[in-house]
Each structure stands twice: as structure tokens, then as C-alpha cells.
Symmetry: C2
Subunit: 203 residues, 2 copies
């Protein structure tokens, strides 16, 4: 039945997500995914014809899930400062529940940059400055934000949020050595990063 079918496809998808996140495209084994889904390997190919098909499906969904989290910033009508605080809280909370996502996505894109191209080529980054300008015209004078520094500030905000997860493997070892708990560090980071950025851009 279609109910059962959804179940199986879902099982496969969830298993594939875990294995791909953990091992990467080239490191993942179809057999591991089948085992984890509790099904036969041939059934994988029945639902998703090839490994690449399956990977593409998983990757696209995860990447969208990730980039979606950046959207609300340009939608709601908070102040710039509120938006920054909102972003760090939401984005870091999301990654707390998906700690392996950032490293996985960054890595796979570096291995095959064209994969992301079709995903974000539709988004009009060109209008980004105009959009921000119209929403926050008055506030921009208060902060050191110009069309020139926008890429730097955007990247900076993304860095502060994403990097700790992308570098989790290293940080955990270093922090352990310093007697710092990674999870606690992340919890504190929501406010620290927001304060840090706001302090830095305020004239």
C-alpha cells in the first residue's frame, strides 16, 4: 500500500541521511544504508535507482533545511539588532539538533561545488543590499554597514554560528583539555556571538 511505501521510503531516507552525514558520499556504503534501514540492498535501488540519486535526494533536502534558516531574517520586521539576536538563537539551536550537518554540507560542496549552484542560483543575492537598505535605511547609519562591507559582515555572522559545529571534532578535544564543556560553550555562544557582532558594528 501507499502507506507502507511511504514507510519504507522514509526508513531508507532516514538511514541514508545518517550514513551520508557520518561517512560522506564516497565513504558511505549502500550496504550500510540497507542494514540501517533493515531492508535488502536491492530495495534501495528499487526506490532510488542509484547511489547518486539517493545522495542527491538527501543532500538537497538537508541543504534546503540548512539555508531555510537564513530566510526569516529578510522576512520579519524586527530591528537589525533584534534580527542578529534572533538569527544566532535560531540557527545555533537548529544546529544543536543537527550537529553534523554543517561539516557534511561544507565538505560535499567543496568536493562538488556545482551541487549547490542549482540550489541557490535562484535566490537573488543581487537585491540583497537593496532589500536590507529599504528595511533598515535609518539603522544602517548607526552601524558600519555599507554595500562594500556587507559580504564581510554576512560571512562573519555565518562564521560565528557555523564554524564551532564544522570544527566540533577539534574543539571538543581542545575544550576537554581546558576543562570546558562543548555543549555549554554552544549554549553560551548564542548570546556571545550576538553581543560580539553588535558591539563590533556599532559606531
Amino acid at each position: 500500500m501507499s502507506e507502507n511505501e511511504k514507510m519504507t521510503e522514509e526508513k531508507i531516507f532516514e538511514a541514508a541521511t545518517i550514513v551520508f552525514e557520518e561517512e560522506g558520499l564516497s565513504g558511505a556504503r549502500m550496504q550500510s544504508i540497507a542494514d540501517r534501514a533493515g531492508i535488502n540492498k536491492a530495495l534501495l535501488h528499487y526506490y532510488f535507482r542509484t547511489k547518486d540519486h539517493l545522495f542527491e535526494a538527501v543532500f538537497t533536502k538537508l541543504a534546503k533545511k540548512m539555508f531555510m534558516k537564513f530566510n526569516p531574517i529578510f522576512e520579519n520586521n524586527l530591528s537589525l539588532e533584534e534580527k542578529i539576536r534572533f538569527f544566532f538563537k535560531e540557527h545555533i539551536s537548529f544546529m544543536q539538533q543537527n550537529p553534523k550537518l554543517p561539516g557534511f554540507i561544507l565538505n560535499e560542496i567543496n568536493h562538488n561545488p556545482q551541487r549547490i549552484q542549482k540550489l541557490i542560483k535562484n535566490i537573488e543575492f543581487k537585491n540583497l543590499w537593496l532589500k536590507i537598505l529599504e528595511q533598515h535605511k535609518d539603522e544602517l547609519y548607526k552601524y558600519n554597514i555599507t554595500e562594500e562591507t556587507l559580504p564581510q559582515i554576512m560571512t562573519t555572522i555565518a562564521s560565528l554560528s557555523v564554524f564551532p559545529f564544522a570544527a566540533k571534532g577539534i574543539l571538543e578535544v581542545i575544550f576537554e583539555n581546558m576543562g570546558v564543556d562543548f555543549d555549554k560553550f554552544i549554549e553560551l555562544r548564542k548570546n556571545f556571538a550576538a553581543d560580539f557582532v553588535i558591539k563590533a558594528i556599532t559606531k
Copy 2:
């Protein structure tokens, strides 16, 4: 001759570095490395018995090369502000010449965290705070740096420097869309990141 031997081992090592950086451990093929080095595949196993041996050699050297760049900060006797400026200039310059290194190292560590453990377990991060305290006792009052915020600030500095390279694949696409040149962005980042951090931590 030993001269020739060094030549061959060197050729293998360089080829392996390129292939591993590009494809990762699981994606790299011994045949590709042999081809790139212009030698027989069996010769790889003559010099480095297994793929894992070869990878370990390459990874260890690259990881050391990377982390070495953090050292001078705790050695020279510049002021805190000078150290921050010095770090961003040196570290980003280094990565400009090795743009694939950050992503490679982060990814391989996430896949196998214990790999980094033996490399940095010798470093005494516990004394880090004491070391900084003794070198910059007076300055620390000027900045918002305490033993509690140190991990956040350290991670922040690393983020601002490393992340743009770890996310190069994405940023290049986005920047292209915005009419921004990645290399120019990186060049500007050396000063932007330093200014940003100093502004943020100055009371």
C-alpha cells in the same frame, strides 16, 4: 641512491597531498596518486605500506603545518592588539596559498576525531590562560577577556579566519551572484577581521 630515493618519496608525498586534499581519505584512489606521481602503483606500497600509512603521513604533516601557524601568538612579545592583527595577516596569507587545507582537515577530523587527539594532546591548553595572563595582565582589563570568555574569543578568532576557506565552495557561488570577487574578499578580510575583533572586545 639516497638522493633518488628522496626524490621518489617526495614525488609520492606531493601527489598524495594533492589527491587526498581534493578527494578525502575515502575518495582518494591509490591509482590516482601513483599516476600523479608518475610511478607504478606497487611503488606506493613499497614506500608507504598501506593507504592508511600514506594518509597518516600526509595528514600529520598538513595538520602540524596548520596548527603551527597559531603558535607565534604565544611566543612573540607584541601587544594583544598587534598579535590579533599579526595573526589574521599571517594565517589568512597562509591559507591563501593552501585554500583546500582547512576544509580537508576539518572534514577528516570530524570523520575520525581520535586522529587529532595524539597531535594536540601534548599541547598544554590548561596553561593557556595563565600564559596569556602573565603576558598581557594589564591589557586584559582593557578588553572583555576573562578566563570564562577566552574559549569564545579564541573560537571567534579562528572562525573569522578559517571559515571563509572552509566554506569557499558556497561563498564563491554567492559572491559571484553579488558581483564580489572571492580573492579580493579574502585580501580585505585580513584587516576587516582584525578591526572587527578589536572593536568588539574593546570596552
